[in-house]
Symmetry: C2
Subunit: 193 residues, 2 copies
DNA sequence: ACCTTTTCTTAACTTAGGTTAAGTGTTTCT
DNA sequence: AGAAACACTTAACCTAAGTTAAGAAAAGGT
């Protein structure tokens, strides 16, 4: 059951057998029925999760009370408010299951820092994760800065066509930073070409 | 001369004397006259710099040939295309001096990775830097996602009023993700309140 | 199969911000 | 000081996207 996580680790950066043995006994599995919260605003993220089944949305509630999606998390990926996790500051966002989901919980931050101290290679692993997550965030930022709504839509369609099978257009429009009617307009415009 | 860098390091995360002695002999100082490039599109970022005097802009040239500022770097801060630096991929952006500037160059990526291997505490230091940089990027992203142009302007005015003394409004408008006339409109609107 | 609820699209109108170009200050250079 | 270059503002017009509300389509529940 945990081998899928080990495999995911290895695809980011090879993990030593010793390091894996430090981590494995601390893992736990948890189910999140659809619409359950992984994290709610005000909580401090203590743990990193790895999704083995399902998907989550990471969103913010704006001044008008609307959900603004910041990110989606899918199976075979980590789910975490990395910001809150790193800085141990309460999150201003929510993470909610969009489907019935299953998550492997890694040890909490304080325990992970302990493990880092015990193992130089694990500390390196932590560095590489942080760098990887930075690059992902940075690419998403560039996506927003340099592309307009239609380009962002085309980009998403090209890179994650599967998302459209699993996530409602209302959620996708919010993820693209636009309103639902705007997304409809864009889709109509494109379908006519 | 290098003590200012040591101090900057310590304010991010305490650095051991041994680690500092590994780094110090590898430092170099370089001058960048106003408008000189620290990095141009197509180059791969090899080094991290620490600005002891001056400022830089990090920008992208869009399809219409206009500069779009992504970030400003000021004295007492690092200057780096962290994305290109981490992934050793050519940068798609430029970093250019906005004032006559002086920079301490840290060793290049390959050398830094060597140092990480030699010292667990230095590896930890690298992890903390990556995490810190991630949080900065993430805050800037949220700034864009959740605030409109006027709110971003007010935010900048509140958090970095000094920028307005050192950077032209053309550069600032680009940093805020808007055109110069829009920034003028916003400034006029606010001044009437 | 039927009703309810949710999801998606469409239309009409509004608004923030983009575009272009002209105009007014400021620096800077000789 | 005068010319040139640059920085900033303003105005008039345009466009992409927001807003609101109504309708069509699809999905779910009984």
């Amino acid at each position: 059951m945990y081998s899928i996580l080990k495999h995911a680790f290895n695809s980011i950066s090879p993990i030593t057998e010793d390091d894996w043995l430090l981590i494995e006994p601390l893992l736990k599995i948890k189910e999140y029925p659809k619409n359950d919260y992984y994290l709610t605003a005000g909580q401090t993220e203590e743990q990193i999760g790895f999704i083995i089944k399902g998907s989550f949305k990471w969103y913010y509630i704006n001044k008008k009370g609307e959900e603004v999606n910041f990110h989606f998390f899918f199976n075979n990926n980590f789910v975490v408010d990395y910001n809150s996790f790193i800085s141990s500051v309460p999150s201003s966002m929510n993470i909610q299951a969009m489907e019935n989901s299953t998550v492997i919980h890694l040890p909490k931050r304080s325990k992970i820092l302990e493990l880092y101290s015990q193992s130089h290679t694990l500390e390196r692993f932590g560095r590489i994760i942080a760098e990887t997550v930075y690059i992902e965030g940075s690419l998403r930022m560039q996506n927003f800065l340099f592309l307009n709504a239609e380009e962002r839509y085309r980009n998403l369609l090209k890179k994650h066509p599967d998302i459209f099978q699993r996530v409602s257009l209302a959620n996708i429009s919010s993820y693209l930073g636009i309103q639902a009617p705007s997304l409809s307009r864009i889709r109509k415009r494109i379908s006519k070409q």
